[in-house]
Amino acid sequence: MNFSWPSILLYTCCAGSLLAISGCDQLPGKPKESDRWIAPDAIKDFKQLFGTNCSACHGDDAAIGPSLSVQNPFYLAIVPKDVLKKLIAEGVKGTAMPGFAKANGGDLADEQIDILVNNLAGKAATQQTSGSGKTSSENLPPYSASPGDTDRGSEAYNQYCAGCHGQAGNGGKKAGSIVDPDYLHLVSDQYLRSIIIAGRPELGMPNYQEFVKNHPMSPEDIANVVAWLASHRHGASEANAAVSPTATVSSQ
């Protein structure tokens, strides 16, 4: 059988083209499924939902948010699931937390809010079983409670908080003013309570068990400090500026 150069060239070209065409599906120009546009309603992935809706304020695994981390093990251990759902869906009136449900002008479908809530609750369960028992919900103070006594709150503040936030709360070496009326105007009592319990470890603030070594704050202390802080608001004697949805959903 005789092979001439032109025929060898022809066969090589044909074989090359066949190879090239069969390999097309691996080439970088092929559109990837990940580039495909997905309707915002159709996103079902927790990481994506959290990343696009929550992470800017509440941080994520890699970033610190300016507001309380909702992945904080203490916070997740105490917040009831239905409260979390209501918080995401309706927001917190008087604070920067907007309602994310479509009914409240947000972009999230009910199913997507459920995905967020269920995954966060799932994280709480994992942390409780794998943790040292510190975040076991049996030992923790309740998520919400009615405000305590202002005078006792002042005492408790001096005992637990003044070391960082200064004697009168106007700021110390380690942390800034916690009685700034502007700050207090922008946050709810429940937010203050949650931060006292959960701390902001990512910013160096310990949780309620660690303010004083081997002497965790009692639930009464926490309620009292919240009352004392709230008394520094503009017009604190009037109704609270920020109303927490937990007032209606308190499960404790």
């Binding site: 120009g29 559109p31 610190i64 300016p66 502007d182 503009h234």
Partner: protein, 505 residues
């Protein structure tokens, strides 16, 4: 066997006069000097057009020109139909290359003075081909019917609407109604698939007829001037002296150049891939960073950069004057010098046009003209800009995100770039200046006075005042601390957050 073939060939020849046709077309004599790389752009444009026709036919087999289904049919091509994405890629890059190669062809013709006597009509038909090609590129972009297409049509329609007297009727004809929907898509489909390709075929025929009739422009020599009285004789002498048949003597470089062009187009399709479809054409979707395709990016940049009120100039006067100049060019300089070395104005025009279009295209690709609509909820601030802040400053950062400041203002380079990056804003603006800017807006920023409570403003400004490097002090008032009008009690020390907006309450 051979004699049968010969009989058939002769039979056909006697009826079709193929030899004569060949001699008058592919075999027509051209100056030997035109067998140059610079003369290959015309045939490359034609090759692109053939690729577009071929891939377009196959695309039309799958594409559904309806607002409800077009997007899905493109997704089918991208993800389901075997090699459908390659087809889309070749069609997209073929279109981009066609515009680029056509521009190069036009530049060569302009610099070589080929538009001068007696090839005025060749130039004019070429200009018509340019506009038809741009029309095809634009209507092709509409076929994607994604957000780029939607807003592209919206801008196209508003440009058409600026034409006096007929503007409104023209928009109605183009869109088939007051909204951009299926009617508009069908009309652009007809334009893209029937009307414009038909026009292109007709004008390509005319263009080639003129090229054959008036001959390919010889390589100009400095000092050899074109004169209406003597040029025809001069050209026929050149053909007599150095004339060679186009095929096979002068076509070699065209074949190589076209081969490279095809490789480039297929390579781009395989390695870069097709364009889109992006976000669907739905004006209610906020997160849509619409941009036109490459040939129109420079216009997009013009529209974004020009000062307010100059739109009539950009979208009506400029295109009108530019088109008139383009069409009348062969009559403005009909005779004289052809060589670019003796035509500095022509060279300057080319350099300025390329620089202008190139820089505007670059600006359009990199320009941060659209806010990053999801930054406020999906882009955390880097840890170093959160750590070490007071509770008020942290709440200010929350306000910063919640009020969607981040959509236009980046911190540490992340976020929108519509407004200035605020990473070190405290080094250049004082607390009162920031308060004024937030409340009153200005410099293209909306006023937030009505949307922010005094507490939110103070918190926000407190946070902004914390944005300075540790070794650079924040900006301070040259005149000392400002006292709000009518306030008698001593003004508190200017720590971030407590100077501001007392006058408002």
């Amino acid at each position: 066997m051979m004699s049968t073939l010969r009989t058939v060939a002769l039979w056909l020849e006697r009826r079709l006069h193929l030899t004569k046709l060949w001699n008058q077309t592919a075999g027509h004599p051209v100056p030997a000097s035109t067998g140059s790389w610079f003369y290959t752009f015309g045939s490359m444009t034609l090759t692109c057009f053939c690729i577009q026709i071929l891939t377009g036919i196959f695309l039309a087999m799958s594409y559904v020109p309806s607002a409800a289904e077009s997007y899905h049919s493109l997704e089918l091509l991208n993800y389901s139909i075997p090699l459908g994405w390659v087809l889309r890629g070749i069609h997209y890059w073929g279109s981009t290359c066609m515009v680029i190669v056509m521009m190069l062809h036009m530049t060569q013709v302009f610099l070589w003075g080929a538009y001068k006597y007696p090839r005025e009509l060749t130039w004019i038909s070429g200009c018509i081909l340019l506009f038809v090609t741009l029309g095809l590129a634009f209507s092709g972009q509409v076929m994607r019917f994604d957000t780029d297409a939607y807003w592209g049509v919206g801008i196209g329609a508003s440009v058409a609407g600026r034409i006096p007297i007929i503007g409104e009727a023209l928009v109605h004809i183009l869109l088939g109604g007051p909204i951009i929907g299926s009617d508009a898509l069908s009309r652009f489909f007809s334009l893209h698939v029937f009307i414009l390709p038909g026009a292109l075929l007709a004008f390509v025929s005319l263009h080639l007829r003129l090229v054959l009739g008036k001959g390919i422009n010889e390589q100009p020599k400095p000092g050899v001037l074109v004169k209406r009285e003597t040029y025809d004789k001069h050209y026929s002498e050149i053909i007599k002296r150095e004339g060679v048949p186009f095929v096979p003597a002068a076509i070699n470089k065209d074949i190589v150049a076209n081969g490279i062009l095809i490789l480039v187009i297929v390579g781009l399709a395989l390695f870069v891939g097709p364009n889109g479809p992006g976000t669907p054409a739905d004006p209610t979707i906020q997160i849509a960073d619409a941009k036109p395709d490459t040939p129109f990016l420079w216009l997009f940049a013009c529209a974004a950069l020009l000062p307010n009120g100059s739109e009539p100039w950009l979208f009506f006067v400029f295109p009108l004057v530019a088109s008139l100049l383009l069409f009348l060019l062969p009559f403005i300089t009909n005779e004289g010098e052809k060589h670019w070395r003796r035509r500095p104005v022509a060279v300057a025009i080319v350099i300025l046009s390329y620089l202008g279009i190139g820089l505007l295209t670059y600006e359009a690709i990199t320009g941060p003209w659209s806010p990053q609509m999801d930054a406020w909820s999906g882009l955390p601030i880097k840890a170093e800009y959160v750590k070490g802040r007071t509770p008020l400053e942290l709440q200010g950062a929350v306000v910063f995100q919640d009020m969607q400041c981040r959509n236009c203002h980046a911190i540490a380079g992340e976020g929108g770039h519509r407004g200035p990056d605020l990473t070190q804003v405290a080094t250049r603006m004082t607390n009162p200046q920031l308060v004024r800017q937030v409340i009153q807006g200005g410099g293209n920023m909306p006023a937030f006075g009505k949307n922010l409570s005094p507490e939110q403003t103070r918190a926000l400004v407190a946070y902004l005042c914390s944005l300075h490097p540790p070794n650079v002090p924040p900006a301070r008032e040259a005149v000392g601390v400002l006292k709000p009008i009518g306030e008698t009690q001593p003004t508190p020390s200017p720590t971030p957050g407590n100077v501001a907006v007392r006058g408002e309450k």
